[in-house]
Amino acid sequence: MIVPMAMTRYHVPEEVCDSPASERIFDIRDLSVTFNGRPVLQKVNVMALNRQVLAIVGPSGSGKSTLLRTMNRTLELTRDARIISGDIHFKGEQLYGNGTDPRIVRKRICMVHQKPVAFPMSIEENVLFGVRFHKNWNGRTKDEIVQSCLERVGLWNEVKDRLSEAASRLSVGQLQRLCIARALANDPEAILMDEPCSALDPVSTGRIEELILAMRPHLPIIIVTHNLAQARRISDQSLFLSDGKSLEQDTTERIFTHAVNERVRDFITGKVG
């Protein structure tokens, strides 16, 4: 269970700290991570709420992707990466508790990567990749799952006549939506996105952003982006990371207009890039 915390926890806004425990999806405290002994994250604090999009922004190399990968236990797939201190709670549960199976965590909290990748199989089988492993059919047929997932990402009409074709024939933009459909087929409870639009053209980027806004009422979304305009368009909360430290978290509106931290202000106004 989450222990009620002090009202003024450093750089997490009060109204977020005050939110009822049931609304808190991620609660990360004093998280420190090293790579080969070199610190990558230092005492990072984040809180993400239900039905909200949290954007993680900051300069390159500030540890944004590392932070994201701690949140569904994919960081431990990287040799040499170690979490040396801190707690990550997901819906009140210890994500790194004893006896927690990382595979179950990854099924519940799915990740959309920067570069979309088609598995060497048909479009349909790509969607069912996780379902076939986790067997979470929940009384639905194969076709129902494929159709509903592809509809949710707006890909159904484009591919419904060629579901058995190799997925590698899709365009990059379509492929990224297929990757999101593949993740949704796992019935996740949260979605992590690691710069999902950085390989895409503006039109495909627009579609992914619409998709994020459409998913928001049902799923908490945490997105790493280097695109400040994008963070402003789609997120409710923003967290600013720099050199592995969380400098400030606030509503996106306030971060972009009245950031308290000087370095955050400089980055957002473009004084430093």
Binding site: R103, C110, M121, S122, E165
Partner: protein, 299 residues
């Protein structure tokens, strides 16, 4: 006017038109030298196969393929079926034994082995094994399998020796082709909460399939074509055909060796060599077809 401008431009770019012309010449010589080297790669196999066809094709007939050696001395007439059959059986046994082991070993080194140091040592030893001359494998097979384990000169002893020869080639092929699969597939697959085994089975092996098939072709070609490993372990001078694991067999390379070294019949030797080469070419071609069949789903 135009020429003058071009001249002055080249002079500007290279310092003087003299050095410009010299470097153009060097570039052409370089290209010609490379073309020549590439052409050798084309010429050699075509010339060897062409020569074998010219010398051997007239002796190849249905009877040559299906009959056993006859005449006096033995091998001057008749056919080579027992040798074809023996080589096929030896290669099949070798591949059946070596491939599963090499697949497992390659998978372990590429996907599971956590200790870099252990992986490097194993890989180094396997590379050493691949570089061991085939006659040494033959000697080992004779001492260990034929004499010590009392297998006798037999199909099984020869098959196991061929498996030994194929194993390192196959293992390196499996490991390399898995390693060349982009890390993004692993990252993305595992982040969906599946096990490594599921990922290997459904994604990585399919992506690595082409490289693995190429390794099989290389290994089988190498093993089937060499006489040394089966000389003391499996082959006999003459057989009327018929296979048994505990019985010796004739093989194409040893039959060829006998025909030539004892000057029995050069005509029959060319025919045998042509069959051996044709068999390997057919095997390569069907392997290529197999790679194609995976088609869009292995990309």
């Amino acid at each position: 006017m135009h020429d003058a401008a071009a001249k002055s431009l080249s002079a500007n770019v290279t310092g003087s038109s003299e050095t410009y012309r010299a470097s153009l010449l060097r570039d052409r010589l370089w290209r010609a030298a490379l073309w020549f080297c590439g052409f050798i790669g084309f010429l050699l196999p075509v010339a060897i196969i062409g020569y074998l066809i010219i010398e051997g094709l007239r002796f190849v007939s249905w009877q040559f393929l299906t009959d056993y050696p006859k005449g006096s001395p033995l091998g001057t007439e008749g056919g080579i079926w027992p040798a074809v059959e023996g080589s096929l059986a030896l290669a099949s046994i070798g591949l059946l034994v070596a491939f599963p082991l090499a697949l497992g070993g390659g998978l372990y080194l590429s996907e599971y082995g956590r200790s870099q140091r252990f992986n490097k040592i194993v890989r180094f030893l396997v590379e050493c094994l691949a570089a061991v001359p085939s006659i040494i494998f033959g000697l080992f097979g004779y001492a260990f399998l034929v004499v010590f384990l009392k297998f006798g000169i037999s199909l099984i002893a020869g098959g196991l020796v061929l498996a030994l020869i194929m194993f390192p080639i196959l293992l390196i092929a499996v490991q390399e082709s898995l390693r060349s699969v982009d890390e993004a597939y692993r990252e993305m697959g595992l982040s969906l909460g599946v096990t490594r085994f599921y990922l290997v089975r459904r994604v990585l092996l399919r992506k690595a399939w082409r490289g693995i098939v190429a390794g099989i072709v290389l290994a089988v070609g190498h093993a089937v074509g060499s006489a040394a490993p089966v000389l003391f372990t499996a082959s006999v001078y003459f057989s009327k055909g018929g296979l048994g694991l505990d019985r010796p067999v004739m093989t194409l390379p040893t039959h060829l060796y006998n025909l030539v070294s004892e000057a029995i019949s050069f005509d029959q030797a060319f025919g045998t060599a042509l069959i051996l080469i044709a068999g390997l070419l057919i095997f390569n071609a069907s392997a290529m077809l197999l790679r194609r069949l995976g088609g869009g789903f292995t990309q």
